[in-house]
Amino acid sequence: MTAGALSLGLLDFQSWAKASAEAPVIRIPTICNGCGNRCALFAFVKNGRIWRVEGNPEANGNQGVLCPKGHGYLHDVYNPNRIRSPLKRVEGRFQPISWEQAYKEIAQKINLILLENGPESIFWVNYPQPNQAYALRFMHSLGSPHYFTHGSTCFTARNAAWNFTVGKLPSNDLANSRFIMIVGRNPAGGIDLGQVKDIVKAKEKGAKVVVVDPRHNETAILADEWLPVKPGTDLALLLAMINVMVSEKLYHKEFVKDHTVGFQQLEDEIINYPPEWAEKICNIPAKTIIRITREIAREKPHALIHRGYHGAIGAQYLNSFQTARALAIANALLGNINRKGGIYFAEAAELGELQPTHPAPVGPSGPKADGTGIPGRYPLGSYGDGISHAIPELALRGVLKCGFVYHHNPLRTNPNPKRVIAGYKKLELLVVIDPVLSETASIAHYVLPASFYLEADEAVDTKHYGKRAQVSIQRKVIEPLFDSRSGFQIIVDLAKCLGVGKYFNFTLDEANELRLKPLGAALKDLKAKGILPVGAPWKEGFGKLGTPSGKVEIASSTLENLGYPAIPRWEAPLVSPDDKDPHSFRLIHGKQAIHTHAMTANQPYLMAISRRYDMIRLLINRARAEKIGLKDGDVAEIKSLVGEGKIRVKLTEGLHPSCVWLPSGYGIFSKYLTTAYDQGLSYNDFLPTLFDPTVGHAMSSEVIVQVTKA
């Protein structure tokens, strides 16, 4: 066995273990990249190969534990599907190219495109990484406003609603809550380790947990009660709960009087939504709604409705924004805003600036081409995130001409892939930065191999917010296997090649030190520990909020001025299944604990679980399935306006009869991803391209499908 083979780490795990039995073990603190939570961990390296990982007990976000992706995804560093050098597509085939040559060619092409079409014709889209500030700086230095995140397919409605109500996105003090209600969020499946640990702690202290979800999700296993709401109607349930709180005077009177505006308007409006009305819409019995509302109010202010994420309120329905508003208002009525056991403003580290040492470019002042920033176009849209699933539309219209896709795979994670492919193919230049040939990378003109997270140092991160802020850092754990570079390095290199290097005259260490400086944290200490607490601990209560009135806005005059109801009103979903057609279902989706977006399905350790436990199936309510002749394990055909596909079904009693549920993360169609290729389907295959008129999100559960026995 050669030293080279060992250091490459491509040996079978067990053969390597035997060869390395006596080797010393090195422990290096870093952060995971198996999803966006960036959990802090210790990596154990033996003989140059990553062996195993352990959760860092200091970390707010994961409190010493790790999920299956944390353990499984590390093996992807040794995945034979990884790209070994920069690639250029020549007549449909990829050819290796040197970094210098790739940069030179990319710079030439971009300069010509920008000369002809203006600086706004270039974009950058990424699933946020700690280096996102540098990507934004890169776009600004070129004069383009077009930096995008994946937000419009994920969370923008939720963020907008919380911003309008309390001025910012808060967190949940789950561990100290006496009553936890969770609507459309599943921290035990779309894993948030710290949240699950906190729910368990709260339960041990006697808290009650209620989960509202059309599917009996993984968090429901821990709950005292599961309320199987009809998908798309969570708003009716929340309005009825508010109705009960108001009519039975269960709300926190002192808090409402001192800290909110618009309660009078709420009283006048909410009278329209008694529980008996809601029952007919959301299928939760009126008496249950009344009982749950009384129970949660009894524990106020140490009671909460989870702040939510993607499901129900993030980017799912036409009414997601109003649903999130109702959810925020219901919390305010419990008097729990910034209270122990309630919704609280977590302490998050505010990193320092690079200027004045390294002056920032003057950013472009105009709106984005997706409409965010144009008054009245998407009045509640997020300018910072942009509307990334509009990129293909803007490319087809010739507005965007070239761009970078980094740590993101829109061909698989955006709705309506045929349209997405058409759009991204229309670009005159597409550069993808990824460790593997994802669907998006496989149609790029150039692919730049990003280092795997275990192979590179990166920018400091602030993800571990909590009762005391923390900073964390990704560190190089093993030597890079191939000719790859870190995301930070690629951004700096590209800027230099494109003639805007004057904004990037710093090394990673210098930049990290500058950003840590105002926090009083030393880079050396952070590297040694992986995570460091900074700033003062969280305190209860608040002064002036970031809303126009400085208070919790039950009624929002800003919304009213924009032509929206000041108080949430019932709004039906955009589409609904046909009750008379036994084949008509709403298609909803959710995460399994073992997969993240489209990036882990190619990981053999994680995909082995999908196969062993037969998890790549469409969930369907048993009675509905039997009506259309489907038995457990049968193959069903799914059809929507834009897509069709075949998949085996799992019959269950744990799903609302009006919908079918597809696990996200499958349906990989890049033939370069050999483990995941052609396994299962993605909900995106069936989704039309939609833009919610207020926030611009993807409305990713507004799709009706026909399900038949194949």
Binding site: Q14, I594, I609
Partner: protein, 181 residues
Amino acid sequence: MAKYGMVIDETKCVGCYACRVACQNQNHLRENEAYNYLEEREFGTFPNFNREFLPVQCQHCDNPPCVSVCPTGASHKRKDGIVLVNEKDCIGCKYCIAACPYNVRIIKKEGYIEKCRFCIEFVEEGGKPACMTTCMTGVRMFGDLDDPQSDIAQFIARNGHRLRVLKREMNTKPRIFYRKA
């Protein structure tokens, strides 16, 4: 001498499979080799429904059928209660697989039989089994059953009426105790 055992809380497992992959890494297993598995069960009819996941692994029985059928002594029970397979003595006859009522033994690519080892090398250095330390809901508890001060011994003392063992009728005397749902 310590007498190792485990408690598994049936009410807490949400089926995330972190224990499976943490164990695979700790023990250098290939992707299709696993020392533990989860059994999912559903109860009731919509909307009155619940489900649970039951984690299963080698029960480290005090009366281990795998040991009594092993023709070479490869499968053996240590004084500290842990059942192990000595890889060098294993001839791969699979008698132990047939005898074990818990379906927890695997055939390694190399031809010998393996199974959960309670991460014994790790435990001897003061660690805990990887399946336990990674778990976000704290399903497992591990320790010395003979030490009245240990968490596990105290838990068993407090919760005797809530405990059960798997397949008690087989008289295998498992050292994994399940806290009933």
